[in-house]
């Protein structure tokens, strides 16, 4: 089978410090494009669909010119019918292909919730394992420039809630490529959510095809005072804070979960056991969301490690506003993380 001989990465060798002869710097979208390219090259069951995947911008560059290489049958534009097109991808997956369906924004996935939640996630279980749905749905979280309430949502908490889905949220170019390869090779529906601000990230990415196991977080920075658990773009924010607070005597450990479903509980618990303090940072609402789930897990399984109440840094319970003044007030960032660190240590 096409996917049996991929190099499995053991653990990302440090944050952005990888160097070797077959490694060069790529941006986050370039890494994604390379993953799609190599996946299509390797396996002719893989195809790419989505509104604008073959347009001159190529989905922020992540699909740029793939249609020229693989033809318009395997890389094609879609009508905006998100629900039907998700069903189409599900049907093609049931019939044995490996679709990658790409959306500009997670907000648009709300139009496809019936096919994602009632169909894609259920088809294996509901039919006793007789069929599976090897489907990847990608979407890019927007932020800033007045993108506002319907173009800035993250909404991954909704997907984490649903059994049968897998949920991936990379923060680095290296992970973007490796995790997208794993997603395409996986025999289950995978929701792959990127962050537009991660697209600025540039990192060392191996040329070869490699895959990063699901359910394996990574310690981005070792520390002993406080554990910060994050995903996606918030990992980058947390690392900035960690560097800044180092000078002030706070030694932070930063964990990048990489996938939320499956979730690497052990890496969180191991770290909290060491530091006794946990801050969870997220690109989503805190209420009923991923930070709540992680806090609950630690309360259930690691309560005795805690020296202070868990803190969460995420969105307040309002839609994302447009005005840049209100955006500033809305989005938690370095300042909120620093405050959380100070409070939790004191």
């Amino acid at each position: 089978m096409p996917w049996t001989k991929i190099l499995i990465e053991k653990q990302e060798p440090g944050f952005d410090e990888h160097a070797g002869q077959d490694v060069r710097k790529l941006t986050f979208p370039q890494a994604l494009r390379e993953a799609l390219d190599q996946a299509m090259e390797r396996d002719d069951r893989v195809f790419v669909m989505g509104q604008g995947v073959d347009d001159p911008t190529g989905m922020f560059g992540t699909t740029l010119d793939l249609h020229k290489k693989y033809g318009s049958e395997r890389v094609f534009d879609t009508p905006l019918s998100e629900n039907a097109m998700t069903g189409v991808a599900v049907g093609a997956a049931i019939a044995g292909l490996r679709p990658v369906y790409i959306h500009n924004r997670p907000d648009f996935l709300m139009l496809a919730m019936d096919q994602i939640v009632n169909h894609a996630s259920k088809w294996s279980y509901m039919f006793g394992g007789h069929v599976n749905v090897p489907l990847v749905i990608r979407a890019v979280i927007g932020r800033g420039w007045g993108s506002a309430a319907q173009h800035s949502q993250s909404l991954h908490g909704l997907f984490m809630h649903v059994p049968g889905l897998k949920l991936v949220m990379p923060s680095t170019a290296y992970d973007a490529k490796g995790l997208l390869i794993t997603s395409i090779a996986d025999n289950n529906p995978v929701i792959f959510i990127e962050h537009r601000w991660s697209y600025k990230h540039e990192g060392h990415v191996p040329k070869e095809l490699y895959s990063i196991p699901f359910g394996k977080g990574v310690v981005r920075r070792l520390g002993k005072d406080v554990t910060i658990v994050g995903i996606s773009y918030m990992v980058i924010e947390a690392l900035r804070v960690a560097a800044e607070l180092q000078e002030k005597g706070y030694d932070l450990e930063v964990i990048d979960l990489r996938t939320l479903k499956p979730l690497d509980e052990q890496i969180i618990l191991n770290s909290v056991k060491k530091t006794g303090r946990l801050i969870i940072v997220d690109t989503d609402w805190v209420t009923g969301g991923v930070t709540a789930e992680i806090a609950a897990i630690v309360a259930e399984k690691g309560f005795e490690y805690l020296k202070a109440p868990i803190k969460r840094v995420g969105w307040p319970d309002v839609p994302v506003p447009a005005s840049y003044v209100l955006e500033e007030a809305f989005y938690p960032g370095a300042e909120q993380i620093i405050n959380a660190v100070k409070e939790i240590v004191e």
Binding site: G91, G128, H130
Partner: protein
Amino acid sequence: MEHREIPAEALLRLYVVISRIRKVELKIEDLYHKDEMKTPVHLCLGQEAISAGVCANLKETDYVFSNHRSHGHYIAKGGDLNAMIAELYCKETGCSRGRGGSMHLIDTSVGLMGSSSIVGGGIPIAVGAALASVLRRDGRVSVVFFGDGGSEEGVLYESMNFAALKRLPVVFICENNFYSVCSHQSARQVNDDISMRPKAFGIPSCKVDGADAAKVYVKAKEAIENARSRNGPSFLECRAYRWRGHAGVGDKLKAQYRKLDEWKEWMARDPLKELEDALIGKGILTDDKKTEIGQAIDEEIRRAFDFAQNSPLPDKNEVAKYLYA
């Protein structure tokens, strides 16, 4: 009229399939009160000719996607009867290993790729399977069954647009039985001519008498051949009557929501009886042959229920099994 276009052998096969569906549904109805089949059943009595007439034109490798009223589709596509009945008994030997129940029948070995109980949910999935068949150039045709209720879902129109855009080998079968639970079509739709809607997408469509197996067979044959020769999708609105209530057995409420005239008119149309009379009239079926067919089916059903009743239940420790592939 259409009988003349169909070989005697094919007519006889239609008769056998319709008889099987009829007898299975009646047997379920007969035993349902025992509360051993702990799953909501949606009987297709009165609509059997549609499943039979369509699936008679499909190859085993062709795809069918079904809905909550799935028994007829499953049987007509050739699904294993033991596994179907075992699924109704929620047993591990069921076609979905007791994880699906009556609304989620599947038999991939004959191309029945699953049944969705979200109205309209299977429609785009069937279109996707047709897309796969084009990408792989394997010549398979994909068929989806849905009802008049399904024709109210936006996803149907999204799906028809894409299927027509890519000229996909998919056949849309709308079984219009006039009722969504107890709501009549006239309470839900501004125009009851469902078959005119696909025309907006350039999809050939027509209304078919769904109580007449031969008529369904002829129209389905044309649609399926069209799809197989890459001429794109087709749509059939097959009208037939749901003899029973929406779910469960019998139809206790019928006097409260059905019109008496309509009821009488349609109940006079029995798809099995009409085909049987025609075949006897043509000498294709004799009384002896009829008895022989009936007894064989009865025996098959007896064995299937026996198998189901004596099969093991799923293991409680395996509640999470099959969640991920």
